[in-house]
Symmetry: C2
Subunit: 504 residues, 2 copies
Amino acid sequence: MLNRVRSAVAHLVSSGGAPPPRPKSPDQPNATSALPVTPPEAPRSPAKAGSGGAAPAKTAEARASFSRPTFLQLSPGGLRRADDHAGRTVQSPPDTGRRLPWRTGYAEVINAGKSRHNEDQACCEVVYVEGRRSVSGAPREPSSGQGLCFYYWGLFDGHAGGGAAEMASKLLHRHIREQLKDLVEILQDPSPPPLCLPSTSGTPGSLDPSHLVGPQSCFPSQKEVTHDSLVVGAIENAFQLMDEQMARERHGHQVEGGCCALVVVYLLGKVYVANAGDSRAIIVRNGEIIPMSREFTPETERQRLQLLGFLKPELLGGEFTHLEFPRRVQPKELGQRMLYRDQNMTGWAYKKIELEDLRFPLVCGEGKKARVMATIGVTRGLGDHNLKVCTSSLPIKPFLSCFPEVQVYDLTQYEHCPDDVLVLGTDGLWDVTSDCEVAATVDRVLSTYEPNDPSRYTALAQALVLGARGTPRDRGWRLPNNKLGSGDDISVFIIPLGGPGSYS
Amino acid sequence: MLNRVRSAVAHLVSSGGAPPPRPKSPDQPNATSALPVTPPEAPRSPAKAGSGGAAPAKTAEARASFSRPTFLQLSPGGLRRADDHAGRTVQSPPDTGRRLPWRTGYAEVINAGKSRHNEDQACCEVVYVEGRRSVSGAPREPSSGQGLCFYYWGLFDGHAGGGAAEMASKLLHRHIREQLKDLVEILQDPSPPPLCLPSTSGTPGSLDPSHLVGPQSCFPSQKEVTHDSLVVGAIENAFQLMDEQMARERHGHQVEGGCCALVVVYLLGKVYVANAGDSRAIIVRNGEIIPMSREFTPETERQRLQLLGFLKPELLGGEFTHLEFPRRVQPKELGQRMLYRDQNMTGWAYKKIELEDLRFPLVCGEGKKARVMATIGVTRGLGDHNLKVCTSSLPIKPFLSCFPEVQVYDLTQYEHCPDDVLVLGTDGLWDVTSDCEVAATVDRVLSTYEPNDPSRYTALAQALVLGARGTPRDRGWRLPNNKLGSGDDISVFIIPLGGPGSYS
């Protein structure tokens, strides 16, 4: 993410100290052993000698190590090429060997030098969920029902370091699996989900069927909750638990910075697109564009941020004002009237400038230059627990939300052809490519491949990444129209909506 | 508004006491003399003898007086018919005499008995705005420029009393006029609005042209503010000032209850539709439906309400939980797991029931039965300063917003025909009539009238009101399909988009 966090790296609070908690079970996503294979970074300040199995301090060399998605199957040489800012080779899974699930296409390219490594990360998995227990609360018999499989795709666009993106790419789907464990039976039962379940420590003695749907009392009605909304809730909570894990483990592990997260879950006929940040997902179906996400930036979330600053002024630390002005107010303008808007307004009005209006605005700037507290350009995502205001030690995390917005697409409601795709891209793609241009590339590339050619979706992903990167010319990466291409990391997933081979 | 406030009337805090502040200027909307012609209600508790020109106490008879929009030109007999719950005669401006501006159509009908009087109010005016001063701050010469005219329509759907709706119908447009006074020159100048103006007390000596657009300092950019957004800001602030006036004057005047407000301003080629509550505006253009407002209810604003309860738990008074459950939690369910969602979630998940989850949910119920604090069914509007929770004295006003959402429609971007209309209706219309049914009625009624027939838009308003009211049959007001018609007050404006006679 290009310049998303201004000078924030330099202001990350360094940490030494206590070893991470020991894992309780290797199956738990919050178990330390489930962390990325990359060795944890040594604390930046001199560390006290840890006990209880803390990872040994690494050399500067090891600290600079980086990883790319395992599914790229990169050799050491390939890894070097993937890390080369000058060549900017587009990387995709090899034609040979194991392909990505669901015939998924993928391509990525490193930035033009804005950060040392590619801070985007990606994950594509098929995840099996075994039910934790039966709905009745009785311990689950191995034979008492089928588990569930979900397909999973995740794009993570890191900023101020690659640690958060890498951790999320390794663990977020495990958090989703954990959240779904309780729902395995419920989601496969066509009747409406029970509103109330026995306690997790429930013994057969506590089982009272009347508990499952209790009396309505004075409540005006009983709300019907859909199966979809349980999956949405599971994904939302998984994002939060992932974020909490980053907070807990940031001192012991290499969890620098933060990341945007764009995640797709396919489960029981439906596609759930969860977005927290400024990546984007669109469906291109029969040439038509269906937006599947919204971006969360200081501009789109201005009113939420301002309301928080208004209700909790202590979060502004006396340095910021929750009001927005079209430009910085000058001391000599005291007493004059300037345009402003507050948390309730979408329009502008004039107000008399008072002393506290001279503080820096919580939200300022436009477009890619919009910032919260003059520092960060995205307002949702994972991590950033150590992020401080450039010029002070005021924490920014309270203004950031780790919650995604989830959109649901019913794959069974439409007969999809092989050229119908879901396109996921980090902002490196979308900064220089419109939805319509993506749709045109979808049409152009897929029409040159046979519907069953297994390489067509990767070819499409590569075309999109190349089209956004451009070619080196006139001291820059330039598009055919001579405008600058994206100097950011660019990552693209192409998910064919026909499903895994359903139109073969 | 049918049952929008449950038992709230009974819980309004009665007030006696001090006389209202004396007006400072008859032109100010907050001047007491600008209040409705209806005599102020006597205090409900024995009043101390007021001094300083307080209105004399009225008898119970006078207290029960009510008013309908002046433009209906109702005779005493007409007023009685308009107040008759049994006959429910549809009221419209008379065919003779002065017509409504802009060939506007209007019709209304009283409720079927849910409240003593019709608590809807309406206003339709042409308002002249004289500039307050020149942009440079110099006192304005009478000849130094043209004032501005705006067309104005307002529908106000009262609850828990008719006072707030009546006050808003008499005064809100004056607040809008006040807010526009500073903008008269700016809106007529095609150059972008100045970001900064000299102080209101500015003397020629303080005038420094460099103040109008100051240096950009470290701000990343200077935001461009459009003329439209100044009008939006003026309307937003006018709503807030109207609400504040109600708060100030509620003790001295008949400002019971609250009201939804749906307001349309036509100014310099654009239509601004401002909505706070659950009234609705749609454009029907060449048969196509263009929504021009959103409804604000406990369901649509759930997350805003929950966030406020979460950030300011003192507002919940230990009686409510900010969490939502699909039904009321029972004490015997302690320790079990129930579906819930919090301020961050759109999906549902299970949580273990704890003691504080037994509190009543801040938001509960569905559809027309959804409530904030078990009391009120709309979350935006004016007034309600005395509204308390049914079962306690906890104030509800902190959860209500007086700010409208404003949508802008550029009338010059499309050549409108005489059958293109903007339809405004209180929820009495929309509860039983879909957008599509309204569009069908628009087509059916207008096609039977000549394009220049001055009565066509009132005929359309009448048809819509009649269609929503139904006819008395089987002990109820019933629609042709035998479903129940609306027992609520119903009010409808029809605004032809061709403008005032532009297609004559």
